[in-house]
């Protein structure tokens, strides 16, 4: 079962609809039992980091998500669902889940780049960094499966003012350029999370979701 965690942050229906479109049933829930029983947990979300953490705490979902990830269950984070995986965010000076080492920082530009970073931008698969570990069953070959059929520099839809800075460069699955080169998705064992919105990225986004769901055997 695929569950989409409902913690009051943003439009879960559009995520659910994109799963429906690729022929997969996904249940929207904040029920801890259901989440723990599922085989793929999806955490979407738009809005502010501190509000997201506050809501997760209120719904007693922090332990649940930690159990899901530490127990090796597949996890898909989208936008805010990526950011909360890290230790700390500059947004509201807030503590995150700390599943991944690193922090969430605000874009700061001296030139004329607008904030939020809103619109379509290139997503470049970060394979060269992993080339030494290439081969069957390696993170690189897994990543290639997840991005199968998606051309390099493919366009995905972004809308955010903060970006993640992982401590370990090896978990960066893709990068995107906006003033700086930032991690637009991360991949670490059972966790895959994107800063962009696959559910709003037309063909590329639906393909990526389908690839990941297939990869997780759901």
């Amino acid at each position: 079962m695929i569950t989409i965690v409902d913690y009051g942050m943003g439009n879960l229906r559009s995520v659910q609809k994109s799963f429906e479109f690729i022929g997969k049933k996904a249940v929207i829930t904040s029920d801890r039992g259901k989440i723990l029983k599922s085989s793929l947990v999806v955490v979407p979300g738009v809005g502010s980091f501190n509000a997201a953490m506050k809501n997760l705490r209120k719904l007693k979902l922090i332990d649940t998500i930690l159990k899901v990830v530490n127990g090796g269950k597949y996890f898909l984070g989208l936008c805010l669902g990526l950011q909360i995986l890290f230790e700390y965010s500059e947004e509201g000076n807030s503590k995150g889940l700390g599943i991944l080492k690193g922090k969430v920082k605000k874009f700061k530009f001296k030139d004329n780049l607008k904030i939020p970073h809103m619109g379509w931008n290139n997503v470049n698969l970060n394979v060269p960094a992993r080339i030494s570990g290439a081969g069957r069953g390696s993170p690189t070959s897994d990543l290639r499966k997840i991005f199968k059929g998606i051309e390099c520099e493919a366009y995905f839809y972004f809308v955010h003012s903060y970006y993640v800075e992982p401590e370990d460069n090896n978990i960066i699955a893709s990068t995107t350029d906006y003033g700086i080169r930032f991690a637009s998705s991360v991949f670490n064992k059972n966790v895959f999370a994107t800063q962009f919105h696959p559910e709003k990225s037309q063909r590329n986004g639906l393909r990526l979701l389908k690839n990941y769901v297939d990869y997780t055997g759901n």
């Binding site: 943003g10 931008n121 003012s161 709003k200």
Partner: protein, 271 residues
Amino acid sequence: MKVKKSVLNGLTKRIIPCLDVDKGRVVKGTKFINLRDAGNPVEVAKRYDDEGADEIVFLDITASHEKRKTIYEVVEKTAENVFMPLTVGGGIRTLEDIRNMLKAGADKVSINTSAVENLSFVSKAAEKYGTQCIVVAIDAKRSVSKYKLQNTNYCPKWEVYTYGGRKSTGIDAVEWAKKVEKYGAGEILLTSMDKDGTKDGYDIELTSAISESVNIPVIASGGAGEMKHFYDAFEKGSADAALAASLFHFKELKIKDLKKYLLRKGVNIRC
């Protein structure tokens, strides 16, 4: 074909078709009479999706209150079929309106009159739903000033109008744009009332005046009649996105052809 990209910025300029919806149908001409039927919004949205539109805007112009809820059905059906950002505007007055719109599948709502009448509505909405989903629509009209005749260093001014361009407010558009940014708008949808419907190009002065005085994305609107107008909006007007309605509905201009043209001209565009 070499695409010009500034260093470390891959973000593309957006082409946004706008669908004026009246009682569940796409119509042409919001501020003018003689509404022409332009089809079923869900079908039109699907076509734009295929053609490579970057986002879609629905503007609900349904006058009668009881027929208002048809827009929710339109949004819901569209969001089931089209996986791209969807903005809905027209008659958004309460947090409840925003909630219902987002629940139906909209990603952003566009607020106009109610922002002018109650600025704290913008900040409350941004606080609750995030700045990323609050678009403030500004309808601006050039103020004709005596000053213009006397002074060669004439600096143009624009005034904000509400109620679909029927009511003047006396508010300066540039000052207003700065203010709504401060109050939590995530984007500005800027329509030139002077140019709307003329097809002789966007108001470039207005677009650049606003775009350069705020740090949030600005969508240029009103006046698009040919491909070059889009190029000017991006290159001279510093717009982040350009919107057009009837030009796309009646297939006078195909989004695909427009995008190819812009790419050839060196604008960073998603093709």
